[in-house]
Structure formats: structure tokens, C-alpha cells
Amino acid sequence: MDAMARLTSWMDGPALPVEAARPFKSGNMTLQTPILQPNSLRQGPDAHGHFGIFGGRFVAETLMPLILSLEKAYEEARADPAYHAELQNLLTHYVGRPSPLYFAERMTQHLGGAKIYFKREELNHTGAHKINNVLGQILLARRMGKKRIIAETGAGQHGVATATACARFGLECIVYMGAVDVERQKPNVFRMNMLGAKVVPVQSGARTLKDAMNEALRDWVTNVEDTFYCIGTAAGPHPYPAMVRDFQCVIGEETRAQMFAAEGRLPDSAFACIGGGSNAIGLFHPFLDDRSVELYGVEAAGHGLNVENGHAASLAGGRPGVLHGNRTYLLMDPEGQILEGHSISAGLDYPGIGPEHAWLKETGRVTYLSATDEEALAAFHLCAQLEGIIPALEPAHALARIIDIAPTKPKDHLMVLGLSGRGDKDLATVAGSLGGME
């Protein structure tokens, strides 16, 4: 069967096991334009980068030519088998893909309902899903002849992944990180330094992720000739939301194949945490047209959704607005001034969300929930104690909702958690929450 026919049959309905094994055989097909049905939910964005009313290219004129040349370079790379082969080789031998789909037996027994699987992105090199996207972008930067890489980071996972890839390819790496996050994620700052990256603490504004992104954009505006901006989440001006999604779709494609291998069918539901939303869109996207698969994104409710400026749930507590190059849901005051947001997890602490999630919320295809700091901490401890896996606080938010929902489902309900990162970086934060432990 040729590639096009295989893809078409795959889109037509529940795939056969032979189709399910596709990602391991033929590399990352998502990057090549798949043949989609006319009513497919996987067609976005349009030529202008819009998902419904969301997305777009809201950037200063200085950046516009760069955004357009990036879009062109990405389109060319997508069509180049050599690019795919190089990326696939790195994902296999450097990242360690595919990441396992693990049956969480004791969690399943404990909750007494759905059969729970973890998609173990925390086992990737550098300990999170971020590396999937970074390698795709760094290979693109090399194709474009860019020698200087800049990135923003919140929890530090994207910064570490970028620093890692830059070390691997001998590229200069500058990571912008809010001064507040530098303090609360010290181990990751140290890792980035070890990898040869320069970490710049951002002192402007609220000194967290949004300000790190502002500062990275300022750097880019200033160093247009030689610099590539490696954005860490599926947000920002077009083509970033689509490009980052494409790189992260390996998560959902593998999950799909692995679930077929393990259970002979599609999962019934998938859960992922959402800050900007890159791991969630990567897990969800390959299932968007499988309407039987329930999809749940879990935002950070911080101190609670009713606490003003006390959460980071842009969809639940925000409104559509324009920031960082795209229209999406934002946390803001009645005047349109951006709020800082709060979450115990530095990786979710962002006042916006990827534009495709904003659109998926409006279409109703994905159900967006939230979990508080306290609920995430409880899930964090439960996961460590029952499964011997210390999750990052980010996916602990998604696990918190699984803890509620799994018991309400029958035992043959197949439920997947996108376990997007490991929790080593959060030990000090969790210790702090236990009361002054060093």
C-alpha cells in the first residue's frame, strides 16, 4: 500500500493494527501534509494561520519578514525526506523514542474504574516532551543557516531541551527566564549552564514566563539576521502553533499505535495538562477525528478559579485577546491589561494558551477542566506512592482530574494520561508545600 492510501484508510475509521504500527516504520508522517476528510478537525490553520478566529500573526513589522521566511523554510522542510530522516534518527537514538505506553496497574486498582495508561514522555532525554519540538526547530534553524538560538522558558524544561540540542549541534544558546522562575527552578538553571547556554534572568513586568517571552521577542527584533527563536509551546505567531503541534504529534501517534498493540483498539479518553498546551495538542491532535475518543485538557486553577489573578486557567477564566503574536484566550483585567496568573507549577504559569486549544474549546471537541495547586500536589504524591513515578507538577494536574473521573468509568474504559515530564525539578517546591523541608 502506498503512503497516501495508507493515510487515507487510516483516516477513514478505526485503524487496523498494521496501520497502528505506522509511526515506527515510516517516520513522522504528521509533518507531511496528510490527506484529510473535508470535515476533518485536523485541517487548521488556514493560510493566514487562523484556527477559527484564533491564531494569526500579530507581530511588529520588524519580525514579519522573519515569520514569513520561517513559514517558507518549514514548508520546504516538511516536503524534504532528508529532513524527516534526520529528525527521526535523532528521536530514536538521542531522545529514546518511542516513549513507552505504560499500564498503571496500581493506580487503576486504587481508583477502581477505567484502565489507566501513562504515555511516558518523562522518560525522554531531558525528562519531558519539550525535546520533540526543540529538535524539529533546531534542524530547521540549521537548514536556515541560523547560528544563534534564543528561547523562553518557564519551568526550565524547554530551556533545558533547547540548551541540550544547541550543545549537540554546537549552536549559541540564550535562554530568557523570568527572575522569579530562575529562583524557583534552580536545578534547571544549573543544567542549562552546564550545557553551555546563557540564562538571562528577566526582571521586567511580572518576571515570569510571559515576560521571558516578551524579552525573547525583543532579542529577536534586535538580532534579526542570525537568530532563530525556538518557541517552546504551540503558541505565538503563525507558523509556530502549527509547527510546534506537528513536532509534538509524535506523542499521539505513538499512543495510538501502542494502544492498538496493547488493547487492539483506540483509547476511550486522553488527558493532558495545559499551559501553552504543546503536549496536550501533540497527544490530542491525532485523535481529533476519532470522535469516540474523549479528550480532556486540564488547566492550572492555582489557588482556585474564583481567586482573582490566583490561577493560570486561560480558557476557564480568561477571554479572547491578542498577545505574543496570536489571538487566543488570555487572563486579563477588564481593560485588556495582561494578568500574571498563578500556578504552583512554573510550566503552567502563563496567561495565554495555544490558539488551536482556544478553537477546540469553542468547537467543543476537547473538554477543558482545571485542577488546583492542592489537587495537583495530592496527585503528585499518589503517583509517586502507587506507581514509583515522580511526575512533574504539570501532568499531576491532569492526573488530579483522572483521580475524579476514572472511578466513574467502566473497567473496560481505556484512559491515557500524557505524563509530560518528570518531577525532579519540582522537589523543592513540593518540599516547601510540606512545610519548610529543605
Partner: protein, 284 residues
């Protein structure tokens, strides 16, 4: 003819460039800001750009970022900005006012309502940094329909192929950003500024004002010899910030300091006019 067109036409007759001054609305407080706006034309400002404060000004350097946050802390809102414009118009019917900022506060205010209110307050044009021509349907086209100029930024990265798209719906004047970078940073290469202005003028009859990196009278004079306008922002904000007391309060000292710098810049621009009139361009 709009106030902006009329002002540039008058200055063209006088053979001198316009001095375009930028201040942040409500910085450091509404009362100082009101007094400052009133003082600017007397000190020699030909056009005034008024910043609409925003928490996340991605294209601005530290000086303007800080000014925006001071204004927001002192309670400035988009309604407040328009109120300042209306108050300014009570005593000045001729100096063009251009509102400059980012899209989100306008989007949240409501585009149509904003355009009606801005026009009624006496604003003449808009510069919205994060709306490139690709997003013209958002605000640019509605603004033109509402009778407000939409002034576009052209930058060193705007190449020949892109210039026509950038200029297509631009009105009032073209704002050439002389360096690829944020406001207040660096110093432009003046020889390239002359070249860039000529390149833009080959595509449009609109006046071209040049900004970014203009800090003193001599820089203003050099730019004024080559362009139809000189935009000064961060240097004025720095002058204002230097007068604030420990609590960040403004007052008469702030108005005096900014006015003094504007007078100096205006003399630089006027001096350039003479050179320009005799055909001797000041070169870098």
C-alpha cells in the same frame, strides 16, 4: 485635509522637518501628563504621539516599558487616554495627535467604539505596533473608514518586495524605524537612514518620519536633513523619569525637564532646515 496632512504641508512650505514627540499617557500621573501634553507644542513639538500603556509592550525598550507600568499603576486606562486627548483639544485645535500602542486594550475596548471615541476626543491617527498589514482587517481598514490615519512602521527588514504591502493602507505619514531593535536602543547608521528614506519615498508621496535612537539635538538635526519628521520618545521618557522623586511622583519638574529637551531638539531640527534649504545636507 487632516490635521496631520495640514501640519506636514505647512512644514514643507517652511522647508523644515517635523519634530514628533512621544510621551506615555498618564506617566507618571494624569495631572503631570496633562500639563506635559499642553507644554509640548509650546516647546516646539509639531506632532504628538501619545502612548497607550500596555503591560506587555514587546517592541519597546526598558524606558517605555517602565513608563507604561508607571502610568498603569497611577490608574491610566484607555478611557483615560482618550480623556487626556479631549482635554488637550480644549486648548489646542491644530497639533496632530497620534495614539500609539498595542492591539489588545483596543480589542477589548471594542474596535468600533474605540474608533468613534478616539475621533470624538480629537485624535488624528493610530500606530498599533503589533498589527502588520497581514492583519489590516482588524483595525487598519475600520480606522480609515472612521476617518483616522493609520500610520505604519517600516523597518530595515522591510524589503522592496514587502514595501508596497506595508504602504498600501498607510496614511498620514510613514514611520521609519531606523534600527532593527526595540525603542531607545542603539544609534542608527545615519548614512543608511538617508538611503532608506529615499527608498520609501520612491514608493509613496507620504511624508516619512524617522525614529528610534534619536537622543539629542545633533542626532535630530542629522535625521531632519534627510527625513520629513524626527520622532523622539525614549529620550523624553528618560528626561521625565530623571525628575521623579523616591515615590515616583511627578509634577512641575518633570514638565520643565521634558520641555527643555524638546526645545533643544526643536532647535536641532530647525538648524537642519537651513542646511536643507541651501542644499547642503548634514552628513554623519
Amino acid at each position: 485635509m487632516s490635521r496631520i496632512d495640514r501640519r506636514f504641508a505647512q512644514l514643507r512650505d517652511k522647508r523644515r522637518a517635523a519634530l514628533v514627540t512621544f510621551v506615555m499617557a498618564g506617566d507618571p500621573d494624569p495631572a503631570t501628563s496633562r500639563a506635559l501634553l499642553k507644554a509640548l507644542p509650546q516647546a516646539g513639538a509639531d506632532l504628538i504621539e501619545i502612548g497607550m500603556p500596555f503591560t506587555d509592550p514587546m517592541a519597546d525598550g526598558p524606558a517605555i516599558q517602565a513608563a507604561g507600568l508607571r502610568a498603569l499603576r497611577a490608574g491610566m486606562t484607555l478611557h483615560g487616554v482618550l480623556h487626556l486627548v479631549a482635554q488637550f483639544r480644549e486648548s489646542d485645535a491644530h497639533t496632530p495627535i497620534v495614539l500609539m500602542g498595542y492591539y489588545n486594550p483596543i480589542y477589548v475596548y471594542g474596535v468600533e467604539k474605540f474608533l468613534v471615541d478616539a475621533k470624538a476626543a480629537g485624535a488624528d491617527g493610530l500606530i498599533v505596533v503589533d498589527l502588520p498589514p497581514e492583519e489590516d482587517a482588524e483595525l487598519c481598514l475600520p480606522a480609515l473608514r472612521a476617518g483616522l490615519s493609520f500610520i505604519r512602521l517600516a523597518t530595515p527588514t522591510t524589503d522592496e518586495a514587502r514595501l508596497p504591502a506595508v504602504l498600501a493602507n498607510t496614511s498620514g505619514f510613514v514611520y521609519y524605524v531606523s534600527i532593527a531593535g526595540i525603542t531607545g536602543a542603539g544609534r542608527p547608521d545615519y548614512s543608511r537612514v538617508a538611503e532608506a528614506v529615499a527608498r520609501i519615498k520612491a514608493h509613496t508621496p507620504l511624508p516619512v518620519a524617522v525614529g528610534f535612537g534619536v537622543k539629542d539635538a545633533s542626532a535630530a538635526a542629522i535625521i531632519a536633513a534627510h527625513a520629513d519628521g524626527v520622532v523622539v520618545g525614549s529620550a523624553l521618557i528618560d528626561a521625565l523619569a530623571g525628575t521623579l522623586d523616591g515615590e515616583g511622583r511627578g509634577g512641575e519638574a518633570a514638565v520643565k525637564a521634558v520641555s527643555a529637551l524638546v526645545r533643544e531638539l526643536a532647535s536641532g531640527v530647525a538648524g537642519a532646515a537651513k542646511n536643507s534649504a541651501t542644499g547642503e545636507k548634514v552628513s554623519a
